[in-house]
Amino acid sequence: MIYREAGQFKASYEEDQQIFPIKQDRIVMAALVAAAFFVAPFVASEYWLQAVLTPVLVFALAALGLNILTGYAGQLSLGTGAFMAVGAYATYNFLLRLDGLPFLVGLVLGGLSAAAVGVVFGLPSLRIKGFYLAMATLAAQFFIVWALAKFPWFSNYSSSGIITAQRIEIFGFAFDTPARKYLLTLAIVSLLALVAKNLARTNTGRSWMAVRDMDVAAEVIGIPLMKTKLLAFAVSSFYCGIAGGLYAYTYLGTVEPDGFGLDLSFKILFMIIIGGMGSVLGAFLGAAFILLLPVGLNVLMHTSVGALVPATLASNLELIVFGVLIIFFLIVEPHGLTRLWQIGKEKLRLWPFPH
């Protein structure tokens, strides 16, 4: 009853092309963003800000990057972790070696480095497709992690390639508490999410989707394949690079190359599967789901239900539940949480008189 767009007429093209064409959506979204900015930092405990909210945002950004490449442009990538590593290490080196470089500039330069690396490893996509391409991105994954650990220059000659993030300071304001770091992350992630949402609606985004659906057909109707695919790799890797920078600077503070291994790439891949491929909202839902799942399981194991599970099984329960959930989601809803959200909205529009 409350969620109905009756009476909302669109009188101009601007109104017709809004991201959220329904007024109720706009209100909810605005309230959500306002709550994230103005309420969460004051209400949430330090643990929640540091260990839950910030990583959810960082991973959502990485998932968004992968979603651009896999969800929108249809190029399966298993090298997300490596591109994040490039972003983190490049940001570190720019800030370390260029004295007085503002943090945000360093972060963007890190993202651009990741984009450059992404384009190089995207080159094979012009010739090979599908699973063969996924294996090619595995080459990027293993090579980059190996290179970062092997050449000490990247980590400024620290032992086993560990880097420790420098202090974040923007215009003399230090981002040193969990709440401030959270706010910085939130600001960057919301800006990039907005850009991604709009990018998907432009000529570029539509070319990506055409290439995803069938690249030969896309080429026939005049979409330059090389430019489109490489741009997808570049933009996607840029997002992953920024996410990597934030992962190192606002979330963990200290990272090592092995932390960006294949497991991280798979984790982000699961986020976009469970969240929903080819959707910006899906990246956020997926990241929140995957990161909150272990927390939820942990809580459950400490209640009376946990006592029933044998100890040998308990430690592996996370793996099992994870695997079952992924298979379950793919069977029940291959389009992910986003689709459930849409179905819910459709139902709500007709409620309480569905006929």
């Binding site: 090979i128 294996m135 293993f142 030969v216 699961f270 430690s315 592996n316 793996l319 695997g323 992924i326």
Partner: protein
């Protein structure tokens, strides 16, 4: 020259072991178009089940642990478990995912690999176990004396086992009724269905065969490096072999395995020192990538023609 030969032969023998894992991938991909990422987990699961059974069977059945028949009983039971696994996978996963895009099925197998890893460790525990097949890992004496070559006896036996397995599979595919049905399904699902080949039973069979291959691979790899979680990474060793040889070709898996095994060892010995070593994590992938740029379907893969 002797050293070069030694490295080369060592690499080729290691390559046979890679091929053994890759073979499991090829079987399933041929019959159902699924790139089964869980093959590594299946290798781990099979090896762990076998070791777990040999440990516990004596207590369960009241047998002496030294009895030679124990090996065969455990092997048989492991095979039964793998058939059961194949049936469960078909019944509860593949059947529900018919007609989904290949990428969805691939991701489902990643989920399956997590599930199998969790169940395997939950059932048998996560400790590293030794596995002794009674084959010594020592140089073959005759070769060492006459040609001064250090070739491990164990590698030789393992490669022979892999070779025999491939030959048996080739015969099975070529001359049995089930094998012919499998080839028909690999060729064209719909055509196979229309002449009365039960697709679902074929899938169970092919996953079970991949399970048997996983047992052999698990026993060989497990007795080499111990039965531990790292066995699941054999899948990552097999992937470059797979794309190099082509996803649909059994001979491709063998040739790919030999090429990857030999060049990996040679690169590690002759190229590794210049860049600080440890290059075997990525070298096979880059090598496979170079091959792919020349032949996008791998060496023996089916040529794919896109039509609008």
């Amino acid at each position: 020259m002797g050293f070069f030969l030694e490295v080369l032969i060592g690499g080729l023998l290691a390559g046979m072991l890679y091929a053994l894992v890759a073979l499991g991938f090829v079987l399933i991909f041929k019959a159902s178009g699924v790139l089964n990422f869980a093959q590594g987990a299946m290798v781990f699961f099979a090896a762990l089940t076998f070791v777990g059974l040999t440990e516990r069977l004596p207590a369960w059945l009241g047998l002496s642990p030294e009895w030679a028949g124990l090996f065969w009983i455990a092997l048989l039971l492991t095979a039964v478990v793998m058939v059961l696994l194949a049936w469960l996978v078909e019944r509860f996963m593949l059947r529900k995912l018919v007609n989904q895009p290949a990428i969805t099925l691939f991701m489902a197998t990643i989920g399956l690999s997590y599930l199998i890893e969790g169940v395997a460790q939950g059932m048998w525990g996560a400790v590293v176990r030794g596995l002794d097949l009674g084959i010594a890992d020592e140089p073959v004496m005759g070769l060492l004396e006459r040609y001064n070559l250090m070739i491990s006896k164990f590698d030789l036996v393992a490669a022979t086992v892999a070779g025999v397995l491939v030959a048996v599979l080739a015969l099975f595919f070529q001359y049995t009724k089930v094998g012919r049905a499998l080839r028909a399904v690999a060729d064209d699902h719909q055509a196979a269905l229309s002449i009365g080949i039960p697709l679902q039973r074929i899938w169970v069979i092919v996953w079970a065969v991949a399970g048997f291959v996983a047992i052999v691979a698990g026993l060989v790899w497990g007795s080499r490096n111990g039965v531990q979680f790292a066995l699941t990474y054999t899948a990552l060793k097999a992937l470059p072999v797979l794309i190099l040889g082509g996803l649909t070709s059994v001979p491709g898996a063998i040739v790919g395995g030999l090429i990857i095994g030999a060049s990996e060892k040679l690169a590690e010995v002759y190229l590794g020192p210049f860049v600080g070593g440890g290059i075997d994590s990525w070298f096979p992938y880059v090598l496979a990538l170079v091959f792919l740029l020349i032949r996008p379907e791998g060496l023996f893969g089916e040529k794919h023609i896109d039509r609008v």
